[in-house]
Amino acid sequence: MRFSAPETIAEAAALLREDGARCLSGGQSLVAMMNADLVTPSTLVSLRRIRGLDRIETGADGRLTIGAMATHARVARHASASAGAELVIAAAGTIGHPAIRNQGTIGGSIAHADPAADYPTAITCADASVVIAGAAGERRVAAADFFKGFYETALEPGEIVIAVEVPPGAPGARAHYEKFALIDGDFAVVSAAAIIGMENGRCTFARLAIGACAAVPVRSAAAEERIVGTDLDDEAVREAADLLVQCCDPLDDFRGSASYRLKLVPRLLRRAIGSARQKAERARV
Protein backbone atom coordinates (compact mmCIF):
# COMPACT_ATOMS: atom_id res chain seq x y z
CA MET A 1 0.00 0.00 0.00
CA ARG A 2 1.14 3.52 -0.81
CA PHE A 3 0.43 6.64 1.16
CA SER A 4 0.41 10.17 -0.18
CA ALA A 5 -0.55 13.46 1.34
CA PRO A 6 -0.78 15.92 -1.54
CA GLU A 7 -1.19 19.64 -0.98
CA THR A 8 -3.73 20.40 -3.68
CA ILE A 9 -7.13 19.05 -4.56
CA ALA A 10 -6.01 18.54 -8.16
CA GLU A 11 -3.14 16.28 -7.08
CA ALA A 12 -5.40 14.36 -4.73
CA ALA A 13 -8.00 13.90 -7.44
CA ALA A 14 -5.37 12.64 -9.85
CA LEU A 15 -4.09 10.09 -7.34
CA LEU A 16 -7.62 8.93 -6.60
CA ARG A 17 -8.23 7.96 -10.21
CA GLU A 18 -6.05 4.92 -9.63
CA ASP A 19 -7.91 1.66 -9.14
CA GLY A 20 -8.07 0.75 -5.46
CA ALA A 21 -7.07 4.19 -4.24
CA ARG A 22 -8.96 5.44 -1.22
CA CYS A 23 -9.33 8.90 0.17
CA LEU A 24 -8.29 9.30 3.82
CA SER A 25 -9.80 12.10 5.83
CA GLY A 26 -10.32 11.39 9.54
CA GLY A 27 -9.90 7.66 9.07
CA GLN A 28 -12.39 6.69 11.76
CA SER A 29 -14.25 4.32 9.46
CA LEU A 30 -11.55 3.54 6.90
CA VAL A 31 -8.78 2.62 9.34
CA ALA A 32 -11.21 0.56 11.41
CA MET A 33 -12.10 -1.37 8.25
CA MET A 34 -8.42 -1.75 7.35
CA ASN A 35 -7.73 -3.07 10.86
CA ALA A 36 -10.49 -5.63 10.39
CA ASP A 37 -9.09 -6.64 6.97
CA LEU A 38 -12.30 -5.50 5.29
CA VAL A 39 -10.50 -3.21 2.85
CA THR A 40 -6.94 -3.12 1.56
CA PRO A 41 -6.52 0.05 -0.48
CA SER A 42 -3.68 0.16 -3.02
CA THR A 43 -3.09 3.82 -2.25
CA LEU A 44 -4.27 6.08 0.52
CA VAL A 45 -4.63 9.71 -0.39
CA SER A 46 -4.67 11.84 2.73
CA LEU A 47 -6.43 15.18 2.51
CA ARG A 48 -4.71 16.47 5.62
CA ARG A 49 -2.24 18.78 3.90
CA ILE A 50 -4.75 20.50 1.63
CA ARG A 51 -5.36 23.95 3.06
CA GLY A 52 -8.79 25.32 3.69
CA LEU A 53 -10.69 22.04 3.59
CA ASP A 54 -11.64 22.30 7.24
CA ARG A 55 -13.31 25.71 7.23
CA ILE A 56 -16.75 26.19 8.70
CA GLU A 57 -18.43 29.44 7.71
CA THR A 58 -21.84 31.00 7.36
CA GLY A 59 -22.45 33.04 4.23
CA ALA A 60 -24.47 36.24 3.91
CA ASP A 61 -27.44 34.19 2.70
CA GLY A 62 -27.35 32.11 5.88
CA ARG A 63 -25.86 29.14 4.07
CA LEU A 64 -23.50 27.14 6.29
CA THR A 65 -20.50 25.74 4.46
CA ILE A 66 -18.70 22.91 6.24
CA GLY A 67 -15.37 21.89 4.75
CA ALA A 68 -14.93 18.18 4.23
CA MET A 69 -12.10 17.99 6.74
CA ALA A 70 -14.03 19.72 9.54
CA THR A 71 -14.17 17.31 12.46
CA HIS A 72 -17.41 16.31 14.13
CA ALA A 73 -16.18 17.98 17.31
CA ARG A 74 -15.71 21.32 15.58
CA VAL A 75 -19.07 21.10 13.84
CA ALA A 76 -20.77 20.15 17.11
CA ARG A 77 -19.28 23.20 18.82
CA HIS A 78 -20.30 25.58 16.05
CA ALA A 79 -23.01 28.11 16.92
CA SER A 80 -26.03 27.50 14.77
CA ALA A 81 -27.54 30.40 12.87
CA SER A 82 -30.35 28.55 11.11
CA ALA A 83 -32.56 25.51 11.38
CA GLY A 84 -30.53 23.64 8.76
CA ALA A 85 -27.33 24.33 10.63
CA GLU A 86 -28.97 23.40 13.91
CA LEU A 87 -29.88 19.97 12.60
CA VAL A 88 -26.46 19.16 11.18
CA ILE A 89 -24.72 20.45 14.30
CA ALA A 90 -26.99 18.38 16.54
CA ALA A 91 -26.29 15.28 14.48
CA ALA A 92 -22.53 15.89 14.71
CA GLY A 93 -22.75 15.85 18.51
CA THR A 94 -24.31 12.39 18.55
CA ILE A 95 -21.59 10.64 16.54
CA GLY A 96 -19.52 8.14 18.52
CA HIS A 97 -17.49 9.53 21.40
CA PRO A 98 -15.27 12.56 22.03
CA ALA A 99 -12.11 10.93 20.65
CA ILE A 100 -13.95 9.80 17.53
CA ARG A 101 -15.42 13.27 17.05
CA ASN A 102 -11.96 14.81 17.35
CA GLN A 103 -10.75 12.89 14.29
CA GLY A 104 -13.79 11.99 12.23
CA THR A 105 -14.81 14.43 9.51
CA ILE A 106 -18.03 15.25 7.72
CA GLY A 107 -16.48 14.52 4.34
CA GLY A 108 -15.30 11.10 5.47
CA SER A 109 -18.62 10.28 7.05
CA ILE A 110 -20.78 11.09 4.05
CA ALA A 111 -18.37 9.56 1.53
CA HIS A 112 -18.52 6.36 3.58
CA ALA A 113 -22.33 6.53 3.30
CA ASP A 114 -23.26 4.18 6.11
CA PRO A 115 -27.06 4.42 6.17
CA ALA A 116 -27.02 4.19 9.97
CA ALA A 117 -24.64 7.13 10.31
CA ASP A 118 -25.93 10.46 11.52
CA TYR A 119 -24.75 13.03 8.99
CA PRO A 120 -26.39 11.47 5.92
CA THR A 121 -29.84 11.69 7.49
CA ALA A 122 -29.27 15.20 8.80
CA ILE A 123 -27.89 16.69 5.58
CA THR A 124 -30.57 14.98 3.51
CA CYS A 125 -33.27 16.43 5.73
CA ALA A 126 -31.63 19.85 5.57
CA ASP A 127 -31.62 19.90 1.73
CA ALA A 128 -27.86 20.29 1.84
CA SER A 129 -25.62 20.08 -1.21
CA VAL A 130 -22.43 18.12 -1.40
CA VAL A 131 -19.61 19.96 -3.14
CA ILE A 132 -17.49 17.57 -5.15
CA ALA A 133 -14.17 18.29 -6.82
CA GLY A 134 -12.55 16.31 -9.59
CA ALA A 135 -10.46 16.70 -12.70
CA ALA A 136 -13.33 18.50 -14.43
CA GLY A 137 -13.67 21.02 -11.62
CA GLU A 138 -16.35 21.33 -8.96
CA ARG A 139 -19.92 20.16 -9.02
CA ARG A 140 -22.73 20.25 -6.52
CA VAL A 141 -25.03 17.33 -5.83
CA ALA A 142 -28.11 17.50 -3.64
CA ALA A 143 -27.66 15.27 -0.57
CA ALA A 144 -30.76 13.35 -1.61
CA ASP A 145 -29.02 12.43 -4.86
CA PHE A 146 -25.58 11.93 -3.32
CA PHE A 147 -26.47 8.78 -1.40
CA LYS A 148 -27.04 5.94 -3.84
CA GLY A 149 -27.16 2.82 -1.72
CA PHE A 150 -25.43 0.97 1.12
CA TYR A 151 -21.97 2.55 1.21
CA GLU A 152 -22.58 3.91 -2.31
CA THR A 153 -22.46 7.54 -3.38
CA ALA A 154 -22.50 9.69 -6.50
CA LEU A 155 -18.72 10.09 -6.26
CA GLU A 156 -16.88 9.02 -9.42
CA PRO A 157 -13.32 7.74 -9.34
CA GLY A 158 -11.00 10.70 -8.94
CA GLU A 159 -13.63 12.77 -7.16
CA ILE A 160 -13.45 14.14 -3.64
CA VAL A 161 -16.05 15.60 -1.32
CA ILE A 162 -14.71 19.03 -0.45
CA ALA A 163 -17.63 20.58 1.42
CA VAL A 164 -21.23 20.35 2.48
CA GLU A 165 -23.44 23.39 2.04
CA VAL A 166 -26.43 23.60 4.33
CA PRO A 167 -29.19 26.05 3.41
CA PRO A 168 -30.77 27.84 6.36
CA GLY A 169 -34.29 26.44 5.99
CA ALA A 170 -37.27 28.72 6.48
CA PRO A 171 -36.90 31.77 8.71
CA GLY A 172 -37.91 30.97 12.26
CA ALA A 173 -37.86 27.24 11.67
CA ARG A 174 -36.14 24.98 14.17
CA ALA A 175 -34.74 21.50 14.01
CA HIS A 176 -34.40 18.36 16.05
CA TYR A 177 -32.35 15.21 15.51
CA GLU A 178 -33.78 12.23 17.40
CA LYS A 179 -31.34 9.35 17.46
CA PHE A 180 -32.18 6.05 19.01
CA ALA A 181 -29.24 3.73 19.73
CA LEU A 182 -29.13 0.65 21.95
CA ILE A 183 -26.21 2.03 23.84
CA ASP A 184 -24.44 5.36 24.05
CA GLY A 185 -22.20 6.16 21.09
CA ASP A 186 -23.43 3.30 18.93
CA PHE A 187 -24.90 3.60 15.47
CA ALA A 188 -28.59 4.43 15.35
CA VAL A 189 -31.20 1.69 15.30
CA VAL A 190 -33.37 4.38 13.76
CA SER A 191 -33.00 8.13 13.64
CA ALA A 192 -35.52 10.82 12.79
CA ALA A 193 -34.69 14.35 11.70
CA ALA A 194 -37.15 17.20 11.49
CA ILE A 195 -37.06 20.88 10.58
CA ILE A 196 -40.29 22.62 11.46
CA GLY A 197 -41.50 26.17 10.96
CA MET A 198 -44.57 27.39 12.86
CA GLU A 199 -46.77 30.41 12.52
CA ASN A 200 -49.86 31.02 14.62
CA GLY A 201 -50.01 27.41 15.65
CA ARG A 202 -49.78 26.15 12.08
CA CYS A 203 -46.90 24.36 10.52
CA THR A 204 -45.50 26.50 7.70
CA PHE A 205 -42.41 24.52 6.82
CA ALA A 206 -41.45 20.90 7.21
CA ARG A 207 -38.49 18.77 6.29
CA LEU A 208 -38.41 15.19 7.57
CA ALA A 209 -35.93 12.36 7.16
CA ILE A 210 -35.47 8.89 8.60
CA GLY A 211 -32.10 7.22 9.02
CA ALA A 212 -31.02 3.58 9.30
CA CYS A 213 -34.23 2.35 7.72
CA ALA A 214 -33.14 1.87 4.13
CA ALA A 215 -30.01 1.88 2.00
CA VAL A 216 -30.13 5.67 2.00
CA PRO A 217 -31.80 8.30 4.20
CA VAL A 218 -35.54 8.32 3.63
CA ARG A 219 -37.41 11.47 2.60
CA SER A 220 -41.00 11.81 1.47
CA ALA A 221 -42.29 15.03 -0.07
CA ALA A 222 -45.82 13.78 0.48
CA ALA A 223 -45.17 13.33 4.19
CA GLU A 224 -43.87 16.87 4.49
CA GLU A 225 -46.80 18.25 2.50
CA ARG A 226 -49.19 16.32 4.72
CA ILE A 227 -48.21 18.28 7.83
CA VAL A 228 -47.65 21.73 6.34
CA GLY A 229 -50.72 23.81 7.01
CA THR A 230 -51.86 21.61 9.89
CA ASP A 231 -51.48 22.30 13.58
CA LEU A 232 -49.40 19.11 13.74
CA ASP A 233 -52.32 17.19 15.16
CA ASP A 234 -51.85 13.51 15.90
CA GLU A 235 -53.62 12.39 12.77
CA ALA A 236 -51.51 14.55 10.47
CA VAL A 237 -48.29 13.40 12.07
CA ARG A 238 -49.44 9.78 11.99
CA GLU A 239 -50.29 9.97 8.31
CA ALA A 240 -46.99 11.68 7.54
CA ALA A 241 -45.22 8.92 9.42
CA ASP A 242 -47.16 6.31 7.47
CA LEU A 243 -46.02 7.90 4.24
CA LEU A 244 -42.42 7.76 5.40
CA VAL A 245 -42.77 4.18 6.61
CA GLN A 246 -43.91 3.23 3.12
CA CYS A 247 -40.55 4.48 1.82
CA CYS A 248 -38.55 2.51 4.40
CA ASP A 249 -36.97 -0.85 3.75
CA PRO A 250 -34.98 -1.65 6.87
CA LEU A 251 -32.72 -4.63 7.52
CA ASP A 252 -33.00 -7.27 10.22
CA ASP A 253 -29.87 -7.36 12.33
CA PHE A 254 -28.73 -7.81 15.90
CA ARG A 255 -29.52 -4.18 16.65
CA GLY A 256 -33.17 -4.71 15.85
CA SER A 257 -35.54 -6.46 13.52
CA ALA A 258 -36.97 -4.74 10.47
CA SER A 259 -40.42 -4.74 12.04
CA TYR A 260 -39.12 -3.10 15.23
CA ARG A 261 -37.38 -0.44 13.15
CA LEU A 262 -40.59 0.28 11.27
CA LYS A 263 -42.42 0.49 14.58
CA LEU A 264 -39.91 3.07 15.77
CA VAL A 265 -40.27 5.33 12.74
CA PRO A 266 -43.55 7.04 13.72
CA ARG A 267 -42.57 7.02 17.39
CA LEU A 268 -39.26 8.79 16.86
CA LEU A 269 -40.71 11.05 14.19
CA ARG A 270 -43.33 12.23 16.65
CA ARG A 271 -40.59 13.09 19.12
CA ALA A 272 -38.48 14.85 16.50
CA ILE A 273 -41.41 16.90 15.20
CA GLY A 274 -42.61 17.65 18.71
CA SER A 275 -39.22 18.91 19.86
CA ALA A 276 -38.59 20.97 16.72
CA ARG A 277 -42.05 22.45 16.98
CA GLN A 278 -41.60 23.32 20.64
CA LYS A 279 -38.35 25.12 19.90
CA ALA A 280 -39.90 26.96 16.96
CA GLU A 281 -42.84 28.11 19.03
CA ARG A 282 -40.67 29.08 21.95
CA ALA A 283 -38.41 31.06 19.61
CA ARG A 284 -41.41 33.03 18.37
CA VAL A 285 -42.59 34.12 21.80
Binding site: A32, L44, G185
Partner: protein
Protein backbone atom coordinates in the same frame (compact mmCIF):
# COMPACT_ATOMS: atom_id res chain seq x y z
CA UNK B 1 3.59 -5.33 1.08
CA UNK B 2 3.46 -1.66 1.80
CA UNK B 3 5.88 1.12 1.08
CA UNK B 4 8.12 1.86 4.01
CA UNK B 5 8.02 5.39 5.27
CA UNK B 6 10.60 7.16 7.36
CA UNK B 7 9.12 9.89 9.48
CA UNK B 8 9.86 11.98 12.45
CA UNK B 9 7.23 11.48 15.11
CA UNK B 10 7.01 13.88 17.99
CA UNK B 11 5.99 11.96 21.08
CA UNK B 12 5.93 13.39 24.58
CA UNK B 13 8.06 16.32 23.48
CA UNK B 14 10.75 14.22 21.86
CA UNK B 15 11.34 13.66 18.16
CA UNK B 16 11.76 10.03 17.11
CA UNK B 17 12.78 8.84 13.69
CA UNK B 18 10.71 5.80 12.82
CA UNK B 19 10.30 3.55 9.80
CA UNK B 20 6.97 1.97 9.10
CA UNK B 21 4.60 0.60 6.51
CA UNK B 22 1.82 2.84 5.26
CA UNK B 23 -0.73 0.61 6.96
CA UNK B 24 0.85 1.05 10.41
CA UNK B 25 -1.22 2.87 12.98
CA UNK B 26 0.14 5.24 15.55
CA UNK B 27 -0.65 2.56 18.14
CA UNK B 28 1.51 0.03 16.27
CA UNK B 29 4.44 2.42 16.20
CA UNK B 30 4.16 3.51 19.82
CA UNK B 31 3.98 -0.06 21.05
CA UNK B 32 6.29 -1.90 18.69
CA UNK B 33 8.93 0.65 17.73
CA UNK B 34 9.06 3.19 20.49
CA UNK B 35 8.55 0.70 23.30
CA UNK B 36 5.73 2.80 24.71
CA UNK B 37 3.26 0.12 25.67
CA UNK B 38 1.12 2.37 27.86
CA UNK B 39 -1.50 2.77 25.15
CA UNK B 40 -3.33 -0.57 24.89
CA UNK B 41 -4.89 -2.49 22.05
CA UNK B 42 -8.27 -3.46 23.44
CA UNK B 43 -10.35 -3.67 20.27
CA UNK B 44 -8.45 -2.11 17.34
CA UNK B 45 -11.77 -0.63 16.22
CA UNK B 46 -11.79 2.68 18.04
CA UNK B 47 -14.47 1.54 20.47
CA UNK B 48 -12.82 0.72 23.79
CA UNK B 49 -10.65 3.81 24.28
CA UNK B 50 -7.67 1.98 25.83
CA UNK B 51 -5.41 3.32 23.06
CA UNK B 52 -6.39 6.97 23.54
CA UNK B 53 -3.55 9.48 23.15
CA UNK B 54 -3.49 13.24 22.73
CA UNK B 55 -2.86 14.62 19.25
CA UNK B 56 -2.11 18.33 19.50
CA UNK B 57 -3.85 18.22 22.86
CA UNK B 58 -7.06 16.49 21.75
CA UNK B 59 -7.84 12.87 22.69
CA UNK B 60 -7.87 10.56 19.68
CA UNK B 61 -7.78 6.83 19.02
CA UNK B 62 -4.23 5.85 18.20
CA UNK B 63 -5.56 2.59 16.70
CA UNK B 64 -7.52 4.59 14.12
CA UNK B 65 -4.74 7.06 13.40
CA UNK B 66 -2.33 6.08 10.66
CA UNK B 67 1.23 6.85 11.66
CA UNK B 68 1.90 8.25 8.21
CA UNK B 69 -0.87 10.78 8.72
CA UNK B 70 0.37 12.18 12.03
CA UNK B 71 2.83 14.54 10.39
CA UNK B 72 4.22 17.30 12.56
CA UNK B 73 1.47 17.04 15.14
CA UNK B 74 2.44 16.49 18.78
CA UNK B 75 1.57 13.13 20.31
CA UNK B 76 1.22 12.70 24.05
CA UNK B 77 0.86 9.28 25.62
CA UNK B 78 0.31 8.17 29.20
CA UNK B 79 4.09 7.89 29.54
CA UNK B 80 4.30 11.66 29.10
CA UNK B 81 1.78 12.61 31.78
CA UNK B 82 4.12 12.56 34.78
CA UNK B 83 6.21 15.66 35.34
CA UNK B 84 9.61 15.21 37.01
CA UNK B 85 8.61 11.80 38.31
CA UNK B 86 5.54 13.20 40.04
CA UNK B 87 2.11 11.81 39.35
CA UNK B 88 -0.34 14.26 37.83
CA UNK B 89 -3.38 15.11 39.90
CA UNK B 90 -5.44 12.82 37.67
CA UNK B 91 -3.08 9.90 38.22
CA UNK B 92 -2.87 10.55 41.94
CA UNK B 93 -6.64 10.78 42.30
CA UNK B 94 -7.24 7.55 40.36
CA UNK B 95 -4.73 5.80 42.59
CA UNK B 96 -6.16 7.22 45.81
CA UNK B 97 -9.81 6.62 44.94
CA UNK B 98 -9.62 2.92 44.20
CA UNK B 99 -10.49 3.74 40.59
CA UNK B 100 -7.87 1.36 39.23
CA UNK B 101 -8.75 -2.32 39.08
CA UNK B 102 -7.24 -4.43 36.30
CA UNK B 103 -5.72 -1.24 34.93
CA UNK B 104 -5.95 -2.05 31.24
CA UNK B 105 -8.31 0.85 30.54
CA UNK B 106 -6.45 3.18 32.92
CA UNK B 107 -4.00 4.78 30.43
CA UNK B 108 -6.91 5.79 28.22
CA UNK B 109 -8.84 7.13 31.21
CA UNK B 110 -5.81 9.14 32.35
CA UNK B 111 -5.44 10.70 28.90
CA UNK B 112 -9.15 11.50 28.55
CA UNK B 113 -9.21 13.16 31.97
CA UNK B 114 -5.98 15.10 31.36
CA UNK B 115 -7.55 16.51 28.20
CA UNK B 116 -10.77 17.36 30.03
CA UNK B 117 -9.03 19.19 32.88
CA UNK B 118 -6.91 21.19 30.45
CA UNK B 119 -10.02 22.38 28.71
CA UNK B 120 -12.28 22.68 31.74
CA UNK B 121 -10.41 22.94 35.03
CA UNK B 122 -13.54 22.50 37.17
CA UNK B 123 -15.84 20.07 35.37
CA UNK B 124 -18.96 18.75 37.04
CA UNK B 125 -19.80 15.04 37.24
CA UNK B 126 -21.90 15.24 34.09
CA UNK B 127 -19.07 16.76 32.07
CA UNK B 128 -16.74 14.11 33.43
CA UNK B 129 -19.10 11.35 32.36
CA UNK B 130 -19.37 12.78 28.85
CA UNK B 131 -15.60 13.18 28.59
CA UNK B 132 -15.20 9.51 29.53
CA UNK B 133 -18.02 8.27 27.34
CA UNK B 134 -15.59 6.67 24.90
CA UNK B 135 -13.54 4.80 27.49
CA UNK B 136 -14.84 1.37 28.38
CA UNK B 137 -14.04 -0.15 31.76
CA UNK B 138 -15.25 -3.65 32.56
CA UNK B 139 -14.13 -3.77 36.20
CA UNK B 140 -15.20 -0.69 38.08
CA UNK B 141 -18.75 0.21 37.12
CA UNK B 142 -17.24 3.69 36.58
CA UNK B 143 -18.38 5.11 39.94
CA UNK B 144 -14.93 5.43 41.47
CA UNK B 145 -13.45 6.79 38.25
CA UNK B 146 -15.91 9.68 38.38
CA UNK B 147 -15.16 10.17 42.07
CA UNK B 148 -11.45 10.32 41.24
CA UNK B 149 -12.01 12.85 38.46
CA UNK B 150 -14.07 15.03 40.77
CA UNK B 151 -11.31 14.80 43.34
CA UNK B 152 -8.67 15.64 40.73
CA UNK B 153 -10.59 18.70 39.64
CA UNK B 154 -10.61 19.87 43.22
CA UNK B 155 -14.35 20.21 43.39
CA UNK B 156 -16.38 18.77 46.22
CA UNK B 157 -18.24 15.60 45.27
Amino acid sequence: MSDIHVHELNVNGEAHEVRFAATATLLDILRQQLGMTGAKRGCNQGVCGACTVLLDGAPVRSCLTLAANVGERQVMTVEGVQKDGMLSRVQQALLDSGAVQCGFCTPGIVIALEALLRERPMPDADEIRHALSGNLCRCSGYVKIVEAAVKAAGVAP
